[in-house]
């Protein structure tokens, strides 16, 4: 092997090692944050009491841990992971750093679905019907983007613009619907649009996990293709990637993930945009590691945001959607200004 090839191998091994190290550090941080999230709350239990109540059935404390805190943390991890992953996928298939579940209008679509159910389809199993409404409308918005792409052989810019137009349209319809609702319904809608983990239980977690984790193996298997796609459609086509098929499958998968995230918790913005960027800045754009790492960074942001939201102004809760922006934006700016080279 030539010295140049050896140097290349050494560099690649060092790069791969750094990525594994990053993953390891993020997992450790997430475990630490999860433990902190589990040990703080309004009931006044000490961290030790809280953690021991997980394993010992001592009545109220055990119930609080297993019925309230643990589902909340697990859902935060799931939602963060889903949004981070979906954001990375959307950015790859559209080759656009502005792409995210929300800038594409898929989040607004899901929101409109949930609001439609709140206002016009009251009754039992509200949570599940809201989830179904959110899922249906998020798919509708995803297919609108894909339809535009197929009809017009649209560029990624056109798809982004379609998404933004959709976002405004769905937001306007949602606002219009609010005029038709009772005070109670309007407050429910407003509450939903700030995002909240307070209404999740194990059944919701089961369904959300299915929607969020099921598409992941498929997306991860197509990591090479996503890598090639980021180099441009022509390059990917030249190297044998069925771009149209990949784009269609990835949009449907990422929309399913987005709907799984939004339908039970409401709108938790910004994570899907910022988590992939943070991860890409640190470990680069190889989707083999970018997808899981971006998911884990998203989970880290959501767990941190939820824990801060519950404790900063306790017992009043700051909606999670507000906190994600507060903690995500400064960190994002810091990385953006600190990094000298172009990462995208």
């Amino acid at each position: 092997m030539s010295s140049h090839a050896e140097a290349l191998c050494r560099n690649y091994r060092a790069y791969a090692g750094a990525r594994i190290l990053f993953l390891f550090v993020v997992i450790l941080l997430l475990l630490g944050l999860t433990a902190i999230g589990l040990s703080v709350g309004a009931s006044g239990m000490s961290p030790l009491e809280a953690l021991s109540a997980l394993f010992v059935d001592n009545g109220r404390a055990h119930s609080i841990m297993w019925i309230l805190r643990l589902p909340r943390i697990v859902m935060a991890v799931l939602v963060g992971f889903g949004l981070g992953t979906a954001g990375a996928v959307f950015q790859a298939i559209l080759q656009n750093p502005l792409a995210s579940p929300f800038t594409l209008g898929i989040g607004s679509g899901a929101g409109l679905g949930a609001v439609t159910v709140i206002l016009f389809f009251g009754g039992g199993f509200q949570t599940y019907r809201m989830a179904l409404g959110a899922f249906i409308f998020s798919l509708v918005s995803a297919f609108i983007i894909l339809g535009v792409a197929r009809m017009r052989r649209a560029s990624s810019e056109t798809m982004i613009l379609t998404g933004i137009a959709q976002m405004f349209l769905f937001s306007s319809v949602t606002s219009l619907f609010q005029y038709m609702g009772t005070m109670e319904q309007v407050q429910e809608v407003v509450f939903w649009f700030f995002g909240s983990l307070s209404k999740v239980g194990w059944p919701e977690i089961g369904l959300a996990a299915l929607m969020i984790l099921l598409p992941f193996p498929f997306l991860w298997r197509r990591a090479w293709d996503l890598n090639l796609l980021t180099a441009g459609d022509e390059s990917a086509l030249a190297l044998g990637v069925n771009v149209e098929h990949l784009r269609m499958a990835a949009v449907v998968s990422a929309s399913l993930v987005t709907a799984g995230c939004i339908c039970f918790t409401g709108v938790i913005g910004f994570v899907g945009l910022v988590a992939p960027h943070i991860t890409r800045m640190i470990i680069g754009s190889d989707h083999h590691t970018l997808l899981p790492s971006s998911g884990l960074v998203g989970a880290l942001i959501v767990v941190a945001a939820d824990t801060l939201g519950r404790t900063l102004w306790a017992p009043q809760v700051i909606p999670i959607g507000i906190v994600t922006s507060f903690i995500g934006v400064p960190f994002f700016f810091y990385l953006l200004l600190k990094r000298s080279r172009e990462y995208w």
Binding site: G41, A42, S43, G44, G59, R60, S63, I64, I67, L68, R69, P71, G124, Y179, T182, M183, E184, Q185, Q187, E188, V190, F191, S196, S198, K199, G201, R310, A314, P315, Q316, V317, P319
Partner: protein, 368 residues
Amino acid sequence: MNTTRPKAAPSSQKSHCAIEWAGKRLQILLCCWVLGGFLFFAPAPTLAASLSITDSLGRTVEIPQPVHRIVALNSDILEVLRTLKAQDLVVGVFSEIVREPEFWGDLVQKPKAGSWRDPDLEAIVRLAPDLVIAYSRNPGPELEKKGEALGFRVLRLDLYRIEVLEKEVRALGLLLGKETEADRFCRWHRQHLDAVRSKLDAVADPPSVYVESYSDYHAAGPGSGGHEMCLVSGGRCVAGDLSIPYAVVTSEWVISRNPDVIVKAASFGNGYAVNNAGPFNRRRNAIMNRPAWNHVAAVESGRVYVMDSAIWTGPRAIVGIVYMARWIHPGRFPDLHPGDLHREYLEIFQGIPYKGVFVSDDIAGKAP
């Protein structure tokens, strides 16, 4: 009939007449000057009397008298106008009125002036009101700014606040020449409020109450109507030490506070049109079945109640207060029947028959 003409004047007489005429002209000029000066410098004449009213923001508002055309921008003011038998003066109403046709009757047909928080100023101008009455905070101050330019006056009254309700009803009665009706309502209101308060003086350790607004986990704290109702009803509001009126709290916080009683506000659009307690009971069951709430004293003892928005603050809050007082202090108010009170209010003051369901507990709420 005397038809003789006057004789011609001699020359001496002529000169005298000329002097006399010059004097007269001087007098006329002097009178005109004095009169003109008086008209110029005198204060403008008052075309109509006006009345000073202190609104809910503590401002003194001059309202020209008489008031013949009112735009009522929310349900509380319209309800009070109906209590004062002044609904004939209403020329415009809030758009949301169409959701409660049974309760409002013919008033639903009145021209609409837009939403209570976002009125249609053009529609208001078209209605040419003497007065537009709104809440103190909604719509914003632009209503006065634009109203001044567009030629209508704004009066802001918060008739959902118990502590100012009687004062503002009396002021409105004075303004509209309906003092008798205002006095009648205020005396009725005071009588029942005192009946509740008098029985609570001896309560040393009031039960703790979690009052939840329309949205789940929105605790009614200081500054909210729900908190005020809880205190008047003799409850100790568990959110009493929070810093904002409607704080979003966690489920865990409610469990840790362990309230003896839970009262939830519900808005099904209109309790007057509801004919069974089903929707209220379903909402109550949902609260009883919230995760881990089986550890809450109120849930364990079944003291969880749901109340319709119609009697949750507003001119009818006294009905809600009596319900709450009975829930918080069972057995202490055997002679106070909220159903009867509500019937009285609707039939005497609103002039409509008593009907509808307003609480989840359909035993205490039924009139005998």
